[in-house]
């Protein structure tokens, strides 16, 4: 079957569905889709993820959401209710474990058993497929806030079936964002198809009266991704989702660290997502935004981690995103305790509330940076559409082949791995090696100029060592990496 950015027919969808449900025994539980939708409809509207985001957008409130996932249902209930009550979280997550992400459900069985035996979670997340709708529903019913699955799964079809059938009203991920940063050798045409399925599934719930949110994973590798590259990917995934009928879309962005650049990136992302959706004929999508607190290496010192967390929260508040994904003071070490997780949430909430009635005002610099990001993004997106000969799905596959889309520090062999990012003198992330990304001449010049300025300031060569220094900078308490002497 030809890869195409086109809504799956019900026949196509149902045919694939049979195969999907057969990949693990819990699939059988969700076979009757109508019944699943009936169940999802019983979830009270204040626990609907899509509606809560929409309301927050209207009132310009910034919501908080942690990451959290453990192996067992009871523990996960306890954890999430703690983050709700003590952490004052507005939205709840469930992070899925890494075996599930690779569809290795047998490993999960072992992890669950070991967790029971050792009485601590031996999995880094919640194995929803193994728990099935019994576990999924029990969890959802035991909470007072909307819940979303957060993972990093190239093939999330079965997982998505189970989570929506459990009354979870949001699902993170996308064909690019849950492939390139999360796998080594999964072809893009495969993940595009698989995520068409996931999107179509969400849309079927939506069409049948259950507002359902989808969220492309904005930060990608979390490591110095130039804003125009991550924005381009987010917009592409929003378009792919909308084509399948998704109406509630949250586009995301991971903090780079220069406040002006970060605010610009959010403003550009908001504007251009709307614009491209309209251009592709999707006029009735509700687009919200998510800001990820610093996604790269964190400082080990907990007070410094708080500093990084709160600093990110100021940016989120100024940019007036719809929600913030929150880090914790344990970030550099490992999965946080529930107390540390609540601490990160409360620190964030404090800042958001102190800044609730404030926002960024337009300056020449802000306008300039918004324009730079928009123009760069347009260059990339235009090229993707062009190489797809008008078809976005085909364009994506081709664009990655040619390095038009290219994600730095990714494990996947399906990205050209040619671009190299580095910070300019002000900490903004620029293209050091532009690879094959088709920016206009002026934009190329601009990126080069900004980095050469840093080279002069720091009296050093503009080379890979800059990138390396920048990778370690934040965890060492700096933004712009300094040359070691």
């Amino acid at each position: 079957m030809d890869l195409k950015n086109k809504k799956l027919t019900m026949a196509e969808f149902m045919k694939t569905r049979e195969e999907v449900l057969n990949t693990w025994h819990t699939g059988a539980q969700v076979a009757d889709l109508d019944k699943m939708i009936e169940y999802a409809k019983t979830v009270p509207s204040e626990k609907n993820f899509a509606l809560k985001l929409q309301k927050a957008k209207e009132s310009r409130t910034v919501l908080t959401q942690p990451r959290a996932g453990v192996a067992l249902v009871e523990q996960q209930i306890k954890l999430l209710n703690y983050l709700d009550e003590k952490g004052e979280a507005d939205l709840l997550p469930t992070t899925i474990d890494s075996y599930t992400r690779q569809n290795r459900y047998e490993n999960c069985e072992l992890g669950i058993k070991e967790s029971l035996r050792l009485e601590r979670s031996m999995l880094n997340g919640f194995p929803i497929v193994n728990h099935g709708i019994l576990g999924g529903r029990k969890l959802q019913e035991s909470l007072n806030k909307p819940i979303q699955a957060r993972h990093g799964t190239p093939d999330a079809r079965l997982m998505s079936e189970i989570l929506h059938a459990s009354g979870w009203t949001s699902n993170e991920g996308g064909a690019i964002s849950y492939n390139i940063p999360y796998s080594k050798d999964v072809p893009l045409d495969k993940t595009i198809r698989d995520w068409q399925y996931v999107d179509r599934l969400a849309a079927i719930y939506e069409e049948n009266g259950v507002p359902t949110n989808r969220e492309p994973f904005g930060p990608l590798t979390g490591t110095l991704v130039p804003p125009s590259m991550s924005n381009a990917v987010a917009i592409i995934e929003a378009l792919l989702a909308a084509e399948q009928g998704v109406k509630h879309i949250t586009v995301g962005y991971g903090q780079c660290g220069n406040q002006i650049q970060d605010i610009s990136a959010i403003k550009a992302l908001e504007k251009q997502t709307d614009q491209y959706l309209k251009q592709f004929g999707h006029n009735d999508c509700v687009v919200t935004t998510v800001f990820h607190q610093w996604m790269g290496g964190f400082p080990k010192d907990e007070s410094k981690a708080y500093g990084a967390i709160a600093n990110a929260s100021v940016t989120a508040a100024l940019a007036k995103v719809t929600k913030v994904i929150v880090k914790t003071p344990h970030e550099a070490f490992g999965i946080p305790t529930m107390e540390a997780n609540a601490s990160g949430l409360k620190c964030t909430k404090m800042v958001l509330q102190l800044m609730a009635d404030q926002r960024a005002f337009m300056s020449n610099k802000l306008k300039e940076q918004i324009d730079v990001i928009k123009e760069e993004t347009t260059c990339i997106l235009d090229a993707v559409i062009e190489v797809g000969k008008g078809d976005l799905a085909k364009g994506v596959v081709e664009a990655f082949k040619r390095g038009i889309l290219d994600i730095p520090f990714a494990p996947s062999r399906h990205t050209a791995n040619k671009i190299l990012p580095a910070r300019d003198s002000y900490g903004a992330v620029r293209y050091l090696d532009i690879g094959n990304v088709p920016l206009s001449k002026e934009l190329k010049k601009y990126n080069k100029y900004m980095l050469e300025k840093r080279g002069i300031n720091q009296n050093r060569a503009v080379d890979f060592q800059m990138t390396v220094d920048d990778i370690f900078a934040v965890s060492e308490g700096q933004l712009v990496g300094k040359p070691s002497i």
């Binding site: 880094n124 080594k184 344990h330 070490f333 494990p411």
Partner: protein
Amino acid sequence: MDKKTVVIGVIGSDVHAVGNKIIDYALSNGGFNVVNIGVLSSQEDFINAAVETNADAILVSSLYGHGEIDCQGLREKCDEAGLKDILLYIGGNIVVGKQEFKDVEERFKKLGFDRVYPPGEKIEKGIEDLKKDLEI
């Protein structure tokens, strides 16, 4: 003198690629012959690479928290494959959560690792230790 050969990679279902790229860069600059099997590597991948290249050491990275499960039996399988006494190092965020490092180190030493590193340990420290252990 001949370059020593070191196999590096990230074990299990772990996709954290950044540290792996940095380690590759640093070891290569440090004069080692680096065999990088990348992320999402099984025990077998490590062992095959070490056997094929007659490696002197295996540097396992594990970031995502499943290190303890993923490494069970690795030393025994090395022995079976004839990689008697090959140096086994591990680093990254090798367990779930913030744990007392002394306990963690002990658990991994029992699993057969020669050296165990705490979160965020600089690869320079690993190189120093390699030079000591390989008598370079």
